[in-house]
């Protein structure tokens, strides 16, 4: 896990060593082998009606991506990292955010109007900043930071979601469709141009692993689709799983993934706030410790699923019950580690701080919390990992939506392609969630580099 947080070293100007270049060719070879097996061997006769062949498209897309990356890796010294593309990205998404906001403003959704106009202002400002970046040096520096692109992208996403939820399918006027497509293209171009060198390096280093993975998938494909060596109910062919994505794209991504994401954010957000607050109180103040600590000690270790019966009674809406169940586990883990982090702050730090004129409250915010931050983050990390488990439990509380619920539902219908489709989204989702967390940690706790084993 720690490994994943490591930032790649800045690229030197010479090209990659020959061994790495050779490695970066392996994934392409693996794709070719898998593709030949897929095309040359016909599907097993029991699997011809309907005759799913989506695996070919997947391999095709992979081939395109890896061809670009491999080419970059082979001729790395000739590829320039494009920082202008970031500007392009910012400009386009900023403009799109503004346009989208204006559009929603026009529709005049009474319920969201205030929010939309505010967003239009933010989008407009982002756009102005990005536009200014073509002229002024300082603005250019700011706009070139990828953070801006991320912010404007999130904003844009928000518009689409609000639009979708408020108006349903009719809300998807051609304007929004067009804007979305343009935005996604700009995003892809920008991302590819900015990241292509880093990605190519990563590919070259992991070439053997990636090739092995692709080969494995190719073999699974041959086993399940071509020779039907495994029971097809539990081990559907890869093409059938991909077929689920094709058929249920909107439901899986716009409903389930979104619902899980929002549920998780609510639960983790509330748990985080409550956990840090409790932990700080327990760790800092004797009196709060006296009253709160027993509750933390007694209630905390109760496994999440035990709360389900109670949560249903306590909350009238299943959604609130689900949020509670997730928030509870997060609260406990974070409060425990925050409290111990604060209790373990060296006394001498307080002493130095006090002789420099700090009050007790200042000691809390300037000494105790910064010093406890690594511990708080550890708690947060543990908490998010276990919150994925809590998510699945929570979604069984009658919230007929979400990835966890979808997987369970598909399982009960003995529709295993759906189960796998859900599982893969879940895995990707958790991965992204945790990666973002590591990035945040790297930023906030960079002072720890060299103090602990990073």
């Amino acid at each position: 896990m720690i490994e994943a947080a490591r930032v790649p070293a800045p690229a030197p100007h010479t090209g990659l060593p020959a061994r790495l270049k050779a490695q970066s060719l392996l994934p392409l070879a693996a794709i070719l082998v898998s593709f030949l097996a897929e095309v040359l061997l016909p599907n097993h006769e029991k699997l011809r009606n309907p005759d799913y062949t989506e695996f070919r498209y997947l391999l095709g897309i992979l081939a395109a991506i890896f061809a670009a990356l491999t080419a970059t890796a082979l001729w790395e010294e000739r590829v320039r990292s494009a920082s202008k593309s970031r500007l392009l990205l910012t400009v386009s998404s900023g403009a799109l955010a503004a346009l989208a906001a204006v559009r929603f403003g026009q529709i005049g959704l009474s319920k969201y109007a205030g929010f939309l106009y505010l967003s239009a202002v933010i989008g407009g400002l982002t756009f102005l900043l990005a536009a200014a970046s073509f002229f002024a040096g300082r603005a250019r520096e700011i706009a070139a930071r990828p953070g801006w692109a991320v912010v404007s992208q999130l904003l844009f996403l928000l518009f689409v979601i609000v639009d979708h939820q408020a108006l349903g399918a009719e809300g998807y006027a051609p304007v929004v469709y067009a804007l979305t497509v343009i935005d996604i293209l700009a995003l892809l171009v920008g991302l590819v141009l900015t990241l292509v060198k880093d990605l190519a390096r990563a590919l070259a280093k992991r070439g053997v692993f990636i090739a092995a993975l692709i080969l494995f998938v190719g073999v699974v494909n041959v086993v399940t689709a071509k020779f039907l060596l495994l029971p097809q109910i539990y081990f559907p062919s890869i093409s059938r799983i991909i077929h689920v994505y094709r058929e249920e794209f909107n439901f899986l991504f716009l409903d389930c993934l979104l619902s899980s994401f929002i549920l998780l954010c609510q639960g983790v957000g509330i748990g985080l706030a409550a956990g840090v607050a409790t932990g700080v109180l327990v760790g800092w103040s004797q009196r709060w410790n006296y009253w709160l600590n027993p509750f933390v000690r007694i209630l905390g270790p109760i496994p999440t699923s035990t709360w389900v019966p109670l949560a249903i009674v306590m909350f009238s809406r299943p959604r609130s019950a689900a949020v509670f169940v997730i928030a509870f586990g997060v609260w406990f883990q974070i409060s425990i580690l925050t409290a111990s982090g604060i209790q373990n702050v060296k006394k001498t730090y307080y002493e130095v701080s006090s002789t420099l004129g700090a009050t007790d409250t200042q000691n809390l915010f300037h000494i105790a919390i910064p010093d406890a931050l690594p511990s708080i983050f550890l708690g947060f990390f543990n908490a998010t990992c276990s919150s994925f488990a809590a998510l699945v439990v929570a979604e069984m509380l009658g919230v007929k939506n979400g990835l966890g619920w979808y997987i369970n539902w598909q399982k009960e219908m003995l529709s295993y392609p759906g189960v796998y489709a859900g599982l893969f989204i879940m895995a990707g989702f958790c991965y992204v969630f945790i990666t973002i967390q590591f990035k945040v940690r790297d930023r906030l706790l960079s002072w720890q580099k060299g103090v602990i084993k990073w």
């Binding site: 730090y349 002493e351 701080s353 006090s354 002789t355 420099l356 004129g357 010093d371 002072w447 060299g450």
Partner: protein, 266 residues
């Protein structure tokens, strides 16, 4: 040079520590001290006699077991930004870089904006220009000690309590820092109370040297250093009076007990 405030008076101050096993350690017993405002006093005494304890008492970090401690006529009840302490080991905040460590006191007291320039000035003064963005774990012991010194100096307290602030420095840097400390003292007129194990350093810097007895400690002897200072730096180290004073102090230290004589860094 002499400022109106910054007087320290200790009236038979004692400090007894209770150890976890119930045993008692008497670090100080009946310390009587009178330090004038703006005076430079060096404390010398055997290791473990209670010098750091006395500084911590003056800083307000601990309370005397008996006796009274006054600052400008007021009893010491707690810490305050009017007394800066450079403790024996440089306790830098590991999550702040050198610049922010030094700026910490100013930020806490909300005067950072007006006094921003001083932060850099004091970093330059302790010779750490270029290390502003380094984190404490990237510094050597002596560098950390100098940051800790700058952090206390920039706060411009009325009273500076220095606990072997130059202990980890090489001879050359040490002499430089002694001159810088003298300069800050002359310019600002703070009261200085400095613990040192180095007799030469004490004579070079101090108006008066207080020699302490072994634990339980009190003041064994107060030695005024009446050798003239040069205008830009301290006393000449090869002045005959200097050497005489050195011999005298060493002799007094020897009187405090043979078994302790070995514990000085002479």
């Amino acid at each position: 040079m002499v400022s109106a405030t910054g007087a320290i008076i200790a009236d038979s101050v004692s400090k007894t520590f209770i150890q976890p096993d119930g045993g008692e350690v008497t670090a100080l017993s009946g310390m009587d001290i009178r330090i004038e405002p703006g005076e430079f006093v060096c404390l010398i005494g055997p290791s473990g006699c209670g010098k750091s304890t006395f500084l911590r008492l003056v800083a307000g970090l601990i309370q005397p077991s008996s006796g009274e401690l006054y600052l400008d006529g007021r009893r010491v009840t707690g810490t305050g930004a009017d007394r800066g302490l450079v403790s024996q080991d440089p306790t830098l905040f590991p999550w702040l870089n050198v610049y922010n460590n030094v700026a910490y006191g100013l930020k806490i007291r909300k005067v950072f904006n007006e006094r921003r320039a001083d932060v850099q000035a004091y970093i330059d003064l302790v010779g750490l220009t270029g290390f502003e963005r380094s984190y404490p774990h990237q510094l050597s012991g002596g560098m950390a000690q100098r940051v800790s010194l700058a952090r206390a100096l920039v706060n411009e307290p009325k009273i500076l309590l220095l606990d072997e602030p130059l202990g980890a420095l090489d001879a050359f840097t040490r002499m430089n820092m002694q001159d810088e400390i003298l300069r800050v003292w002359t310019e600002r007129g703070a009261t200085m109370l400095m613990v040192t194990h180095d007799v030469d350093e004490a004579i070079y810097l101090a108006d008066r040297v207080f020699v302490m007895t072994p634990r339980p400690a009190k003041i064994e002897r107060v030695i005024p250093i009446e050798i003239g200072r040069n205008p830009n730096h301290g006393r000449s180290r090869d002045d005959p009076d200097f050497l005489l004073m050195r011999a005298k102090i060493l002799q007094i230290l020897n009187f405090t007990g043979h078994k302790h004589a070995l514990e000085y860094n002479l």
